[in-house]
Subunit: 264 residues, 2 copies
């Protein structure tokens, strides 16, 4: 309730969230980010108040379906690259210095976005998740994802780089996941989604004995809040939101004008 | 999962959400807006998919405390008017045609924002809530709000215009509400917030016999999900999010270029 007083610490960085894929997942990402900022302030000893949060912008823009585009390499309006770049350009114009992509499958375009916006740090969800699992010594995980994410090898590559075994569902199980994501969460039928996700989670556990599952599509945690039979669920959105909060409050940040001239 | 195909219906309007007051409430407003859009599409017979949601931008910017400013009319950096106008200007530049303010107390600056941005429709939360209550024939409500919102008469004025009696807490109860909002929700202590909000809700019910309470601060519903003793809780964020979704899918919209020339 006190009036705003100038902060003695440097203001946190402006950050952006590239969402809309789908919009419910984007909204949930902001919730997780705000929670992560509160935790970060508590850890850093910064009094928690509205004005101490980083300025952040959420862009929820219509982006063509990522999995469909990965299955059809032709150029055209069904490709998400151009709309992703346009949204990123507008987030950059708002002053964001670090950006998180609130969609796993859209990380297939991470390299393009990072290359075209070298002045912005585009976080990489799979790298953050894999590094976190490796730091905890997790030897193997099961992966729940879209067909697009499996085909692009997004998680498989990063997990392998961190020495973590990644077990995958069968073709029939991938169909179940896609139905849970598209006919379930994206269409508003959360009960159907949950049933399909739980069936695949149980199958991976029984077949491979993995104790943890990565929910590698932002829609999955919206319908699956706990793992069946005590399986640990890893929510990459929470991991990425924590990484974004860490960057927002990073103390080693150069002055903004110098930062804009620094290439990675 | 189908590839994006051109929509035959006109694309929904681009809309903006002015948030950060506080950030958790802004995040929750986006969740409510996405839910309201899903319901709107179902009502209009539009197939629900990611690309059918309106483009929307959430600005979570640091805005000086609204209640503190309303208690200190001097010009200065503690006044929210200028930062609100700046954020609104950036939302306007992103192409938004309708904007919702995700903070009740900030509606004290609604007139300023609407006057400076005549090309944008700035929704008015209290008007939406009062019209909704009047349509349902509700005769009287209790009001839970900040000291700033009480002092500015934001709800009292609109409820009176709609012929609805508005009962207010005592000074001691207003202190409890402020502690619930600032030491509770804004500081991350939801249990404390809930205890204080429930105590005031019960007191208003016992003293005035009102059957419904308006949660006239966006932080209150974050800690109070059900009314004690069966009191109906009205969540203005949900009402405003529905109004924003209604405007986003409005069919009577003029072409965007003509719309920009139309003054209200």
């Amino acid at each position: 309730m006190e009036a705003a007083t100038p902060l003695h610490a440097p203001a946190p960085r402006v950050v952006g969230i590239l969402g809309g894929m789908g919009p419910a997942a984007g909204a949930d990402f902001v919730r997780l980010f705000v929670q992560a900022c509160t935790a970060r302030m508590e850890a850093l000893g910064i009094p928690v108040r509205d004005q101490a949060y980083p300025e952040h912008w959420l862009a929820q823009v219509p982006i063509p379906d990522r999995t469909a585009a990965l299955g059809d390499a032709r150029a055209g309006a069904h490709q998400p690259g151009e709309p992703l770049l346009q949204a990123m350009g507008r987030i950059a114009a708002l002053g964001a210095r670090t950006v998180a992509i609130a969609c796993n499958t859209a990380h297939a375009w991470h390299g393009l976005l990072q290359q075209r916006f070298p002045q912005i740090e585009v976080l990489h969800g799979m790298r953050e998740v894999s590094a976190g699992l490796a730091a905890r010594g997790v030897p193997a995980v099961g992966l729940l994802a879209t067909r697009g994410a499996y085909a692009a090898g997004l998680y498989q590559r990063e997990l392998a780089l961190h020495g973590i075994l990644c077990v995958l569902p069968t073709e029939a199980e991938r169909d179940l996941l896609m139905r849970g994501i598209y006919d379930g969460v994206k269409a508003g039928d959360y009960a159907l989604a949950r049933r399909h996700f739980e069936a695949v989670a149980r199958a991976l556990r029984e077949r491979h004995g993995v104790g943890a599952l990565v929910m590698g599509c932002t829609e999955i945690p919206l319908a699956l809040d706990a793992g069946p039979d005590g399986i640990e669920l890893v929510n990459p959105s929470a991991v990425l939101a924590e990484a974004l909060a860490r960057h927002a409050y990073a103390r080693d940040q150069p002055p903004q004008s110098a930062g804009l001239l620094t290439m990675r």
